[in-house]
């Protein structure tokens, strides 16, 4: 709920609330949680550390990464197994573009939501 604007409650107990995704060939391609996951992978350098940092099970995080990689024209995340530190993962250029794509859509939606909530009267 931290992503929401509660100001409109000052004037009305009702407010518009919503979520957006970007669908791909298999269904959900990018969503809020998926994109945060991508950003954490960039930040931490591994899927497991990213998952831990947002209290998500590694299994779930891995599934999401796999789903995104399958649906994108090029992998958003590349992972290395074994080696120094056991391996790791990092964002590709396509991954960076995907993050920007969704962030833009998200911001546009949030702008719409705020604007519409402003004059919501029941």
């Amino acid at each position: 709920m931290s992503e929401n604007d509660r100001d409109s409650r000052k004037t009305s107990p009702y407010r518009l609330h919503g979520r957006v995704w970007i669908d791909g060939p298999e269904g959900t391609f990018l969503g809020y949680g998926r994109v945060v996951l991508l950003e954490r992978i960039r930040e931490h350098g591994s899927i497991s550390a990213a998952a831990r940092s947002m209290n998500m099970s590694y299994r779930h995080a891995w599934d999401l990464v796999e789903s995104m990689n399958r649906q994108a024209p090029a992998p958003l995340v590349i992972s290395r197994t074994g080696g120094r530190g056991g391996g790791g993962a990092s964002l590709t250029e396509a991954g960076e573009r995907a993050v920007r794509l969704f962030r833009n859509a998200w911001d546009a939606y949030k702008t719409f939501e705020k604007e519409y909530s402003r004059n919501l009267r029941f």
Copy 2:
């Protein structure tokens, strides 16, 4: 999925998709399914017939109606038990206003979604 525009897939496999609700004091107040339910109650004159018409269990429909009535300043649905036909339910004026309120928000969101999907490039 019948509510979606698939035309944008002609140009790109990716499209924006989302859902909106109107939140009230307890959380969800009005959503797509809830408003369809209200409209069916108006159409059929009973909660159970409305639920049947949209393949929803009576129990679930009743819970939704109760949730909406609790959160609105005045009941959206009034119900009569016993009598001719066993009873029934109908939309109040507040119910009609609630339907319009959500339909307007829904339409506005759908317009935003179509417009944004039009120039979605990955």
